[in-house]
């Protein structure tokens, strides 16, 4: 006691210190790279090629080879609208660092080049990993590729900047739509301002719309008033507890439900209403 011994560097100490050194290095690496990866993943407004898996699975599965983009730009039948041979600007682009899309993954910008919905869907069979899942665009009955089953996104109309909602006659998007009068319908309304004209308002049917973006390309306004968003961004969800009373099929859900699954009481139910009135939360 009292005498301070000089601490020896034992093999055990050396082993643990070495290990801590490596763990420290590894942790820093994982944290740095992990932070970057998490950032790189967050591009929720990206439009993917047809038949792409859900964004999260797509990012996992896509190997970033660009075979889809090459199949897209080199499709032999590619024609421009004027019937000229080959539009050298394919729809699918491989994301660069500046694109605000996970680098190296395929995406498209409809205002520049929309998806022309080729009957043979060349991009999908080209995918080697299955990030573009061919079963999603294969008709389960005929076993043939079906362009109607594409779901890249859904078109959304900004009624305030759409001139058709002003009362001007414009059906550019309606006519550009490859699923004419199905994905976009014209809704006729009386123009009470003039008293004798009609509004021809474009209305998108999200169940039919594939998100090809031909409407966005065709839109005449400076910044398109109709534009494509990924479905999970553009669409809301009602929730299971709303049932359409007038719909027999929906009514069946009420009959089919298991009583055990119905929760009417939660933690909040334990509190008495009086407690709330007395809690000062009313600001009285």
């Amino acid at each position: 006691m009292g005498e301070k011994e000089k601490k020896k560097i034992t093999p055990r100490r050396r082993f643990f210190t070495d290990m801590a050194h490596h763990i420290g290095l590894g942790t820093m690496g994982v944290m740095l790279l992990g932070g970057y990866a998490t950032k790189a993943k967050s591009s929720p407004l990206t439009l993917r090629p047809p038949a792409a898996l859900a964004e999260n699975d797509f990012l996992k599965t896509c190997i970033k080879c660009g075979l889809c983009a090459e199949a897209c730009v080199n499709r032999p039948q590619n024609l421009t609208r004027d019937g000229k041979k080959k539009d050298k600007f394919g729809t699918l682009k491989m994301a660069k660092a500046s694109d605000n899309v996970t680098i190296g993954t395929p995406f498209f910008t409809p205002r520049d080049t929309p998806c022309y919905m080729c009957e043979d869907i060349p991009c999908v069979p080209a995918c080697p990993t299955g990030a573009l899942d061919i079963t999603k665009v294969t008709n389960s009955k005929t076993k043939k590729l079906d362009i109607r089953q594409m779901d890249m996104g859904v078109a959304v109309v900004d009624v305030h900047s759409c001139i058709a909602f002003w009362g001007l006659q414009c059906d550019a998007c309606y006519r550009a739509c490859p699923l004419l009068d199905e994905a976009i319908k014209l809704q006729y309304n009386r123009n009470s301002r003039t008293g004798k004209h009609a509004f021809l308002e474009p209305v998108v049917n999200p169940d039919v719309c594939t998100g090809c973006g031909l409407c966005e390309k065709a839109c005449v306004t400076e910044k398109p008033a109709i534009f494509v968003l990924p479905k999970d961004v553009a669409q809301g969800k009602v929730g299971d507890h709303y049932v359409k009373g007038w719909d027999k099929k929906d009514q069946q859900r009420v009959k089919d439900r298991n009583e055990k699954d119905i929760i009417t009481h939660d933690d909040r139910s334990k509190k008495k209403p009086l407690d709330y009135l007395n809690s000062n939360q009313l600001g009285l």
């Binding site: 990866a37 660009g66 075979l67 090459e70 660092a97």
Partner: protein, 275 residues
């Protein structure tokens, strides 16, 4: 300069530029010779070729993939397993063009001769493999593929130049001024993976120490100079897995002390002949 001094260098550059040209043509003119990019390609529209490390990352992130990539990764692994794993690095990888240029300039500017201040381990690449796989598992995204200068440069050439070249410039500067062969010889995890793949390859550089005059030109040019530890000492093959089979040492050797050999087979046969 004699042709024999640049034989493998020319062959290597021809391969590198040739592959890049075929990739480019695959996208630009739709040639069906080599399509896709360096992470997955289709050869003659039939044979898939896949980067085994990218596939490992995809597995780590928890995705299920199609058969084409699995077959592709198997083909690539077998191919480099035979001809030497890191032959990918020196004969195919586009970043090699950048880092070789940096290394060349380093020699010309005599930066090598001034002692470097920063030392980093050549084993970082193996740590990187583990770090990348763990990160892929946590983040659900193939983690190296989002910053890999290899695929970024490759895609820049195939699909048109865009941003991302800053990373390439950074690697060039790092290799030139900071650490000799810093990226390829220390950090790149893909090089690490190919090192492991090539562990039992039969294609090796053979050293004949009887012919060696200890000029050390080979060690000067070697991007992994530690693998040439036998120079002037023992007549053995370069068996270290980090050897890239670039053949530069064979090029610069004026004394026939280095040559390619196919495993033990050729070496033994030659011995018999000389007897």
């Amino acid at each position: 300069m004699k042709f024999s001094n640049i034989k493998y260098l020319i062959l290597r550059r021809f391969t590198q530029f040739g592959l890049l040209f075929l990739y480019f043509a695959g996208n630009f003119w739709g040639w069906k010779i080599l399509q896709g990019d360096i992470s997955t390609s289709m050869l003659f529209n039939k044979v898939p070729l896949s980067d085994p490390f990218a596939l490992l990352e995809i597995f780590a992130s928890g995705a299920v993939v199609g058969a084409n990539v699995l077959i592709g990764a198997l083909i690539i692994s077998l191919f480099y397993g035979i001809i030497g794993g890191r032959a990918f690095c020196s004969w195919v990888c586009p970043v090699n063009l950048v880092t070789d240029a940096a290394a060349w300039l380093r020699r010309k500017l005599l930066i090598d001769k001034i002692e470097r201040k920063l030392w980093i381990s050549r084993n970082i690449r193996y740590y990187m493999i583990i770090i990348v796989l763990i990160t892929s598992a946590i983040s659900g995204l193939a983690a190296f593929e989002i910053l890999s200068p290899i695929t970024i440069l490759n895609r820049n050439i195939i699909f048109g130049v865009g941003s991302g070249l800053g990373l390439i410039a950074a690697i060039f500067i790092f290799d030139l001024f900071v650490v000799k062969n810093g990226w390829c010889g220390h950090i790149c995890p893909l090089g690490g993976v190919y090192s492991i793949i090539g562990k039992y390859s039969i294609f090796r550089v053979k050293h004949t120490s009887e012919n060696c005059t200890l000029c050390m030109k080979c060690k000067d040019v070697c991007p992994e100079s530690q693998v040439l530890h036998m120079i002037g000492k023992k007549s053995i093959n370069v068996n270290d897995i980090e050897c890239t089979n670039c053949g530069r040492c064979i090029d610069v050797c004026d004394d026939n002390a280095l040559e390619f050999s196919i495993g033990k087979y050729i070496t033994e046969n030659k011995k018999k002949e000389s007897k």
